[in-house]
Symmetry: C5
Subunit: 313 residues, 5 copies
């Protein structure tokens, strides 16, 4: 199992001296000591309202928000990402989960055809620090940026300030960057656009950036195109959004390609996990982590998912 030492963590220069050990602690927790990120995305109750949690094809256990915490607690994840308020209401009962506070969110009610997207920051960073001081195991922050939106400027400014403040306090930062809006149109997943998003995350100083996998082109597979984006991200680790639920084997193969062909530094998966029953969801987090954090191949990861083999760190 590939591990890094605390000395190998590339601490950015905006982490203040007295927050340096905290930053390393958080980085090691979030990456489970591997430098790779397995992010369990749980911010959809705002982003997609209740549609991701209840309905056809979704296990009924997902209709109770506590399902998310049970998975994070029993499964193998780097961080569970959710809004501050959601975390606040359950964290006391799930103290060992590594929380990443998703700082901004919007609903899907207003479509891009009506207005370009803007996702507002829901509170200041002090609200997160207070909760951390209060004993909640917060290791980092997340923020979503829609590049190419007419509100890009506001989001760039909020994200830029957040990264600076988070690093000063020893928190890691994951940026979700999705090119979107009238100016982007159908190019949301074009390889050049995705690579651009990766570079922006680096310039903002993020520790990780979550992007959509680029489309395949005539000459390159999606994973090969992803490799260009991973390079553009430089010292910012790149992970791909999981998207809607697909069959486990397909999903695990994509993930393996993203990391071992595309140079991704992990994964960010939400619906694919939590729309399943608790047991199945827990096994999927283990299969994903086996690939992400322990270099398993797809077949062995699938065995983990199928319960033929357990996986623990």
């Amino acid at each position: 199992m590939p591990k890094i030492t605390r000395d190998q963590v590339k601490v950015p220069a905006d982490v203040l001296a007295d927050a340096r050990e905290t930053y390393i602690d958080n980085y090691m927790k979030a990456t489970q000591g591997t430098g790779r990120l397995m992010l369990f995305a749980c911010d959809q109750k705002v982003e997609h309202l209740n549609g991701d949690f209840y309905g056809e094809g979704i296990d009924i256990s997902d209709s109770d928000p506590e399902h998310l915490f049970k998975i994070a607690d029993q499964g193998v994840c780097g961080v569970m990402a959710g809004q501050r308020g959601l975390i606040a209401r359950y964290a006391a009962d799930y103290p060992n989960v590594n929380y990443l506070v998703k700082m901004n969110s919007k609903t899907n009610l207003v479509k891009t055809a009506q207005d370009d997207p803007y996702s507002p920051q829901l509170h200041d960073i002090e609200a997160v620090l207070a909760m951390r001081d209060n004993g909640v195991n917060v290791v980092g922050l997340g923020y979503t940026l829609y590049l190419g939106s007419e509100y890009e400027a506001t989001m760039l400014a909020e994200a830029g300030q957040l990264v600076a403040q988070a690093h000063e306090e020893g928190l890691i930062v994951v940026l979700w960057i999705y090119p979107r809006g009238k100016a982007v149109g159908k190019d949301e997943k074009a390889p050049t656009t995705i690579a651009g998003a990766a570079g922006v995350a680096l310039c903002l100083g993020a520790d990780f950036v979550k992007v959509n996998p680029p489309v395949a082109t005539e000459d390159k597979t999606s994973a090969e195109n992803l490799a260009v984006a991973s390079a553009a991200a430089g010292r910012t680790g790149l992970v791909c959004a999981g998207g809607s639920t697909v069959e486990a084997k397909v999903f695990l193969q994509q993930l393996h390609d993203q990391i071992y062909i595309g140079g991704a530094s992990g994964n960010a998966t939400g619906r694919n996990i939590h729309q399943r029953s608790l047991d199945e969801a827990v096994r999927l987090t283990k299969a994903i982590s086996a690939i992400t954090l322990a270099d398993y191949d797809v077949d062995r990861a699938l065995a983990v998912f199928n319960g033929e083999e357990d996986f623990a760190l």
Copy 2:
């Protein structure tokens, strides 16, 4: 009569240690020690101007704003919700009422056809804390959010920050969430929309969320659809808005269904109460509280309303 103990209160993790007892005090006051909320809504003098207080079918006593305080004082309620200024002018004479300060409000003059709704925060939280320190019995805050409005972002940000600040100070928070605006159109009360609103409240960390009852659908009654929303709200208690004045029996049956079929954690009622004479209004608060806080059935609650039986906590 169902009661909870102080230990059973699920204190959210953003309530700071030194505000923990205050939070529990406020939660117990607001729910009268039951975990359920009977909210007497008195914010309509801004929201609907004078139309809810004077005119045909409205008891003349309602034209004097003090009517609201007399009802809250003599009836049985969890909290009386109104704007800070309104409370400030009468609270000295009604010191025992539990006040919930409604932080934002708009009038009904600009219609959605002209502009999507935005309800501005009327003052900072310090203005409320000062009043509390000055001796006013403030137990919590309220805030209205129009999801799907083009101003959704501003309201999400104001609400998110408010919950964090209120919890730090030991105040409970009730969010009024109404999907509304060009993007929502006629779906304001669609079950999926209402369930989405409930989940957003949880992610913002609210203690209670006030929503409109969802419409009935082909396969489900309104109360059955409400059950999905109640589940989506997780540890945030869900209560339904009372709407315009209807006959008492119909009203009490709806309320009973909301709680015992729909999983609601109480009710939020305004016009239905205050448009009546003081005596009748007081009896209605008791009938409502009998169902909400003491598990009465509809017939016995109706007896309370008819004055055949008294109800006190």
Copy 3:
């Protein structure tokens, strides 16, 4: 002459304990110890530019801004309302006038047909408190709100915060509330609209609200319609704007009706006073105050205006 005692002043609960005596002082000064307000409105140099001060039918003395201060000094008024800067330039020479600082103002250059009205706050409250600490006799603040404007939200928020801050410091607050904008159209003076404005002032916590007199309707005179608004204002005193200059007897009769039929708690008069010569203007303030503060009937007030009888407090 009706007088109230200091104990009879209903001090709102947002007046902090150490500002309580100051608030009572200011309230007693502004109402000349009667609980009724005679407000001399002098904010038109911004609101109407120079058109109210120079031209046909306007006494030439009004072209010098000092005219306003001479009237306030020699006449009988509760407060003189004007912008901070105007007061700052003359107050040293007129130290005994009770000043009410009008916090916001707009010109009349941009018409409602071009854009809905917004009147910006011209400075923070600290700028007023500094001037008070510097020896200027400031007893309160004023703020204009255009309900129904597309900028209603901004003005509600500014006004709400101002009232809270002013009361904390012991200053009284008068809100000018005028429904106006595309959504209001020709209903600016409809009785329901005016009554709504009165209720909004109460919910913001104002001490007094200045509204336009409602129009007469089929079944009610203007003063009778005003009575509904006065009721809606509850513990917030309601006063009517004086409007453009009319013949003194007509004006005094209207005022008498507003108070003794319409339940108004005083008056707010500007142009009707200052467009006259100093002597005549001073006499008119005395006639108005005789009705407002001393329960004179119209005939006796007219005698005061005509100089047949003097009036002093």
Copy 4:
């Protein structure tokens, strides 16, 4: 030569006690002890870009920004008005000039036909105070307001706050007020508009207001119309903008009329001065000051301009 004593300075009531002597110092410096202002306007490098400094009919020495400082240093002026940054780069070499920091500016690239004008405040007042504490001889602030612009509200608010802050610190304030925008159209220099602007400056508490000279009307000359505006300005001194370069005699006659017929309290001149060679520009400042500060008639001032007579204070 008319002089005022320190006791004759009408110190506004918002000048704090411990800044009173500083205010009087600055007022005496700016008016050279006369109560009248000779303002050398040097803010055009932003307002008009390079067009006022280079090209046909402009002396080549004006292409070097230091030209402005040489004129201010060698000529006779009350204050030199320019942006903070411009002053910062030369003040160390020209320590005796009285500087008035122009707080806001816009370029002329976006025309009124495209958007109504807004001139943003370029930095907070602390940035000016720091420079003053650092030894720069700053005596006051300037701010431009476009009344009737759709952005009037923002400028009124910025100006209102600035005057309060400047006076607290003992700085004088000059407001440039130009009615402009779609609502104003061709009435920018109508006498009623200019008089309105003068009154607004007073209500904001300005020490001086710079306006465009009103047009002549059927019954009155420009200077006679200006007299109405000067009256409306009350205790705020009114000065006229110099406009584009005209022949010296015409210019001096206009200035003399503005002061001795129009009641102006000085002048504000820029291009007319700096577009000339250093020697000629210096002589023109002396001729202007001879009229403004020393009651010379036009002929004698022209002799000063022609070098037939020197002028010094």
Copy 5:
């Protein structure tokens, strides 16, 4: 090699006394003791996304962001300009580079046809000062302003405040000023526009301004037109943007003309350098610096570029 002494540095008057030595240190570092600036521009990963770093005609080494730091480290530059986050992630490994933090940035996704350009400030200056205190060798700040944009006001205000704050702290400031937007149209590089931009930079107090070279006109070459802009910039040094990659000899000749005919105080070059292999890029920085900092002629600079001669300071 032309050198200036510390005493020759014209320290602006807004550099506070206790930051004076720091300012001189930074100015001497940035100009390598010459008063001229060789700025290596590395902000394109946001401005142009990945298009400047990967693709046809671009050396593959440029796809790794660390390439930029290697060039800055091994080449000869005055400052390397990049976003705060980018610098934060590599500065620990490249401690000797002089960093200029580019405070604002936008992507190229939204075109001017859709909306006028606005480049948001990504964080406050405290975020930079914290990083400097943390040991990063930050010598100054950069900010991009689009004059003539409908958002000009916001950028003027941000830039104006930044210069004041930076100077107070002893940091130098470079403004990138590009006239752009519907109002500017095709005149982005018109000589009058460029000269105007230069004057604006001076009025904001910048130490250097980066502009596009003006076009040639009938009577003047580009460099001759540049001389007018250099004059307009006064004590603010003017440097030209390098633009897209051209043949080295052409590039060096242009640069030589800009400095020795156009009066430029250096250069600002990005793509022309980093799109080459490390070795070639390093040699180009030396050739450029030979002209900029050491008065080499073009032939000798070309010899440096070709490796026939080394260049070091």
